[in-house]
Subunit: 243 residues, 2 copies
Amino acid sequence: MISKSQSKYIQSLGQKKHRDEEGVFIAEGPKLVTELLKSKNAEVKNLYALDDWLHDNEKLLTDVDAIAINEAELEKISQLKTPNRVVAVVKKFEEKESTTKGKLSLVLDTIQDPGNFGTIIRTADWFGVQQIFCSHDCADLYNPKVVQATTGSIARVKVFYADLPSWVKQQNEIRVYVTMLEGKDVTRMTAIKEGLIIIGNEANGIHDDLLQLANERITIPRKGEAESLNAGVATGIVLACLV
Amino acid sequence: MISKSQSKYIQSLGQKKHRDEEGVFIAEGPKLVTELLKSKNAEVKNLYALDDWLHDNEKLLTDVDAIAINEAELEKISQLKTPNRVVAVVKKFEEKESTTKGKLSLVLDTIQDPGNFGTIIRTADWFGVQQIFCSHDCADLYNPKVVQATTGSIARVKVFYADLPSWVKQQNEIRVYVTMLEGKDVTRMTAIKEGLIIIGNEANGIHDDLLQLANERITIPRKGEAESLNAGVATGIVLACLV
């Protein structure tokens, strides 16, 4: 049973303003919530789930404030079209910014679509890229659609927001790769161990002040007619070639 | 000015049942609609747009029943969260099924998410793959979200629905590649000129009756922790390696 004020509180977390004030975000569905419960990085503060789910996951819930709810209550607090058994309130991650030395890092310039942003985080996780640096106008990491699209990778990949041009300038001696419509064929390049890979907005590409900092322009050769690739798909192809 | 009955008609096309009955679908936004107007394959039956858009695109509209509407009317007929200047009613494509000989074809097994499905069509178009064969339980090609996600590639890539196991069996001597979590590393393969590349559902993979027809199992090597890749991203990586 969930109280009216709890229900209101959860609904309010659909908005960035309230997530920022409270320092928490919402995660939904068995797969995502189980990943967060198992993760050492994530702290699940409250959890609301159907009886059978609570029963099946008893062992994961020893330290969690878990409340049983019915289908109607779930429907009310869920942000999903098809509510999926469990909703968790999770503490935002507090990541210390780490070095770019000796690592591949992704850099996202104005990736505003939440689904694309989440998919990129998931793709980075698949390829073992552990940190992503984003411009301030990228989607909010804790937007429910971003969280869902990461399918749990949000617990593993570190995401930082920065003023990209000045931040990139500070990364001394780290090579900067930018994905463009023209450049070196990425499918013919060999893996790299260290570097910043900048992915731009689908419609507008990469901002000029970032382009000027590039050491290498790379491209995914077009063999057909489409004008562009989805940003998530482009990231996947670049990482498959360079990791 | 749009009549009440026109407005109702357009809204009804959000549903598959009505699209099937009428043999038409909805396309929205300047980029998509312009691509369809320029395409030889597509027949735009009616078009509703803001005055300035009609004025800017006069030359494309010589054969089209185009009606000027205001922002409020656009808002009413649009299926988009952010209506974007123009809504077109377009005749469904009538494609004759063509041979798989000498070509690369994509085969989609139960790709139900409209955004993923549209992104896959767009990605195929980027890589010059001209035909896609889908199981009957894939998303509807003319679902507005699919149409939007193709960003115009719907006018170029041919999409057919088929009972996949029996259809694949009929493709004599065409090699069948299936994407799996284990198999031959696709990033080390060389391009192929002919074949069927089967992409499966993210959660459930490829159905057994299709798997049995595979000549080659291919995989995108995982170097990190994510359990799976988004189906659109996986398609992009496979095509970047094999086209």
